[in-house]
């Protein structure tokens, strides 16, 4: 706790200093970099020290810190348990990487915005995110949550000269405030039930099952908007492309995970839920996972694609969470433990690989000045570092063995299969639905990221002109290498992170995970490494065989075989949309996938067009009509707002009279 306070202290002081000195770009950037590195170092130390403690008996360790002097609405009460520490770990790693990258990214920035203020806001965002994770008082939590929304709004709208960016920021703000409304209501009900706004007293309270269900719905909407569950996700695919790349990385890797953290914290507080909550969560998880992936397939803009794939991964995380809740409802502790652990490990891994993908996508956009994949191609030669790092990110997100994505998808599958063995018929049906969804996602993710990597980096440049692109400098490459190394490290040696996730699971369930169960999960993961080692040695043998058998032969270099066609240009390559067309066509009814063509006319057609599009159902068929309806309705009430202060005072009088009558009756 001491180190975390030091870290927070450094962040606060340095962000104040950067605000004061923000006129000078050089000084503020330097200050930003050094304070970021030291503060994240202290923060990581504090998180790791909590996770490394071996817990052998109940109650679980929970480091706490209170300021006894009362603030207006409750005390300043913070604490770190294993769950907070787990999320602090990923928060500090990604903040460090994205921050250093942002320093490099904005070094060349010559626009009208104040970069110093941006850096100071970045520090503030990290501070409030830490506060959300360690808050043990509902008022403090809500205040930090609200500040998190507002500060991230300012960071997203960095390029606010563009109309689209302003609109994206506005939608984010509206969506986030709808969420805060639900959360405030939820915490007020909890506080009323417990008689205190402190989490420890809330945890000690018993909530009746019906109320728990209602609270869960509020939490699901409130936290789900932040996390990006499927019907509430509409802010995500707009805000991510609008923000600068290091901010999109932070949003996608950390901010939406805080929504998941909130849901987990809520599960700790309320403990017992009716069955339909777990069922509902599982169904929503499947919808988010499959829906997010399908929409990602239809995108031609790289950051939009990554944003939709974040929705998919939130779906996978909540599949784990749903299995955990199912296990809890059915009193199958093993199922609950594996489910929660899978959710936590996937949250960590997603933070790493999505951070990596957003940062490398940022490098692509920086050098090509566009996010449109259709005009890219052949960038592997120009941007070898970025290309390799994006490749690692793609392999990881597809859950392929050797990288960390496989470990967490394996865990989610394992949780689903464990549940199928131990639950009743309803559980079996739901969890096998989860298995179908997860295996479908596996294939779709491979399609989606083969498209992203293949179209951007492989083949020839589709614009048809020769371009020269510059690779990033070390300041931007370094953080990406760090994240890629973590992906590989977790993929090969998963036991540390799985162990840490088990600690988090103990904090969620309030029970000790038996050592036998831990071994039953970790030993297979070690055997996976052994299989990969075997694969690696086969690879080496094949490479040697290849070397010896072709010794003495000359390697011919030539053009790609054109199947006999004489005049082929790079514009004739398969494009991003043609690559995914067969799959989108299969799902055309769900996605409203449409291909519009202008047929060539005459013997010598001058020009023709083809465009394909996918429609986001919840945006175009749910929220747009809903908000237009609200707008139309509120227009009818416009006469209330006359603009005269006297009238408003009259309204207050009326209200008071009504309240008086109500009280007297």
């Amino acid at each position: 706790m001491f180190f975390l306070l030091i870290s927070l202290f450094i962040f606060i002081i340095s962000s104040a200093l950067i605000f004061i000195l923000c006129r000078s770009k050089k000084i503020s950037a330097c200050l930003f970099l050094w304070s970021l590195v030291t503060a994240c170092g202290f923060g990581l130390w504090s998180a790791a020290s909590v996770l490394c403690q071996k817990v052998t008996s109940l109650p679980l360790t929970n480091v706490e810190f209170r300021l006894t002097s009362h603030l207006p609405l409750g005390e300043f009460f913070i604490g770190i348990d294993a769950l907070s520490a787990f999320f602090l770990l990923l928060l500090f790693i990604v903040s460090l990487a994205a921050g250093i990258y942002g320093y490099g990214y904005l070094r060349e920035y010559e626009g009208p915005r104040n970069v110093g203020a941006h850096f100071a806001l970045y520090h503030l965002l990290v501070i409030v995110m830490v506060l959300v994770l360690v808050a043990r008082n509902a008022i403090l939590f809500l205040a930090a949550w609200e500040l998190m929304t507002i500060i991230s709004y300012f960071l997203i709208t960095f390029y606010n000269e563009s109309e689209a960016v302003r609109k994206a920021g506005f939608i984010y703000l509206v969506a986030a405030h709808l969420g805060v409304f639900c959360l405030a209501l939820m915490f007020l009900i909890m506080g009323a039930q417990a008689g205190s706004m402190n989490f420890d007293q809330m945890t000690a309270t018993r909530f009746p099952l019906g109320l728990a269900g209602f609270l869960f719905v509020l939490a699901f909407v409130g936290f789900g908007i932040k996390a990006g569950f499927m019907p509430f996700h509409i802010w995500l695919p707009r805000a991510h492309p609008a923000a600068p790349s290091h901010i999109s990385a932070l949003l996608s890797a950390v901010l939406i995970k805080i929504g998941i953290y909130g849901l987990m914290r809520m599960i700790i507080i309320v403990k017992d839920f009716p069955l339909w909550c777990a069922v509902g969560l599982l169904i929503m998880a499947v919808i988010s996972a499959v829906g997010g992936m399908l929409y990602a397939l239809g995108q031609g803009e790289i950051k939009k694609l990554l944003a939709y794939s974040s929705i998919e991964n939130i779906g996978i995380i909540s599949l784990g969470l749903g299995v955990g809740m199912m296990g809890h409802v059915y009193h199958q502790d093993a199922v609950a433990f594996i489910g929660y652990t899978a959710a936590l490990v996937h949250a960590f891994n997603h933070a790493m690989f999505k951070g990596l993908l957003f940062l490398s996508a940022g490098s692509v956009i920086r050098s090509t000045h566009t996010g449109d994949m259709e005009s890219m191609g052949g960038l592997f030669k120009w941007l070898p570092w970025t290309g390799h790092l994006f490749l690692i990110g793609s392999l990881t997100i597809c859950g392929l063995p050797l990288f960390s994505g496989f470990i967490s998808e394996w865990l989610v599958f394992r949780a689903l299969l464990e549940g199928i063995f131990h639950l009743d018929i309803l559980g079996i049906i739901l969890l096998s639905l989860g298995i179908v969804a997860l295996s479908l996602i596996g294939g779709l993710a491979a399609l989606c990221f083969a498209k992203a990597f293949g179209v951007i980096f492989l083949g020839e440049n589709r614009s048809g002109q020769e371009h020269h692109y510059n690779e990033d400098d070390l300041m931007m490459r370094g953080p990406m290498i760090l994240l890629a190394a973590i992906c590989l490290w977790v993929g090969l040696f998963p036991s540390n992170i799985v162990d840490a996730a088990f600690q988090g699971t103990q904090a969620i369930t309030g029970m000790l995970v038996p050592e036998a169960l831990k071994a039953a999960i970790i030993i297979p993961l070690l055997l996976v490494t052994r299989v990969l080692l075997f694969g690696g040695s086969i690879f080496v043998v094949l490479a040697l065989l290849r070397k010896f058998s072709t010794q003495g032969y000359q390697i011919h270099l030539s053009e790609t075989w054109r199947c006999g066609y004489a005049k082929i240009t790079s514009r004739m390559q398969y494009t991003a949309s043609s690559f995914t067309q067969p799959m989108l066509k299969i799902f055309r009814t769900i996605l409203f996938f449409k291909v519009e063509t202008v047929r060539p006319k005459g013997y010598f057609p001058a020009e023709t067009k083809l465009s394909s599009s996918v429609k986001d159902v919840s945006q175009d068929l749910l929220f747009r009509p809903l908000f237009y309806g609200i707008k139309r309705f509120s227009r009818k009430l416009k006469w209330i707002q006359s603009g005269h202060t006297q009238t408003y005072i009259l309204y207050i009088l009326f209200l008071l009279v009504i309240l008086l009558i109500w009280k007297l009756c």
């Binding site: 191609g377 052949g378 490749l391 392929l400 063995p401 998808e409 394996w410 599958f413 394992r414 299969l417 199928i420 009743d424 079996i428 049906i429 096998s432 298995i435 179908v436 295996s439 479908l440 596996g442 294939g443 491979a446 399609l447 083969a450 293949g454 492989l458 083949g459 020839e460 030993i523 297979p524 055997l527 299989v531 075997f534 694969g535 690696g536 086969i538 690879f539 094949l542 490479a543 065989l545 290849r546 058998s549 072709t550 032969y553 390697i555 011919h556 270099l557 030539s558 053009e559 790609t560 075989w561 199947c563 082929i568 390559q573 398969y574 690559f579 067309q581 067969p582 799959m583 299969i586």
Partner: protein, 306 residues
Amino acid sequence: MNIFLLLHVLILFIFPPLLLGIIGKTKAFFAGRIGPPLLQPYFDLYKLLHKASVYSVTTHWIFRAAPMISTAAILSAGILMPIANLRPPVQFGGDIILFVYLFALARFVIILAALDTGSSFEGMGASREATFGAFSEIAMFFNLTILALLSRKLSLSGIFLGGLSSSWVLVGPVLILVVVSFFLVLLVENSRIPIDDPDTHLELTMIHEVMVLDHSGVDLCYILYGNAVKLFLFSTMLVSIIFTFRSPDIFLNLVLFILEIVGLAILIGVVESTMARLRLNKVPYLLFSAFIFSIIGFIVILVRGH
């Protein structure tokens, strides 16, 4: 014990191309020809190993490494699979997931290699392979889930070494559905005839073969060998579902296994000789039906089990 491990690995490495030879012989028989010798696939691989390669200037290391990575991944999947009732070298609860994902890895790198050439033909093949692969993966996973549910085991060796022995008596119809579904998956995954034609690759309707248009020499050798191993592993799985009989005598097991797998190869050859290739837009229906077969099987289990 170690001798058995060695035997397992030897069968895995050496046996697979023979299956292609048997299929070729069967097809030749139906066409009224004598056909190439049974060992022709081995001769082809040996020939390709000693050929020089031509590389496109558009390609990167991905193009050259992909055949090796994919073959290595497929062979690693092989050490999880019990062959001829021999215990595999590695087994653990949950290795069915790794098994499927290793094939996914093999497919993914070959798709990247196809995109690496920048050819629109290979892009087309890659797109189709990725699309159909996604569906066959679901059917595969669902079938494995059913088998895991029946045997209450999460490892391939648990399922296939005795886990299913009583299931044929108790829930025979389910296993028949699984076998049918699995056979369709086998045809799709190995680009056999109703879906794809492994013999030609210059038509617009090809899937897998068109992806490897630019590979030549030793790279092509690895790809063909990898495909043979994949076919062998899928066939092994299918015969292990159908024939659950085990004898304590290892050599009797071995002989039986070879008979079973040769029979399956002949069956594939018969299917290839008697059927025409499906039109490309009909392939998803076939994949859906594979999936639906397994769902029906699943429902039967739910009804029977509860």
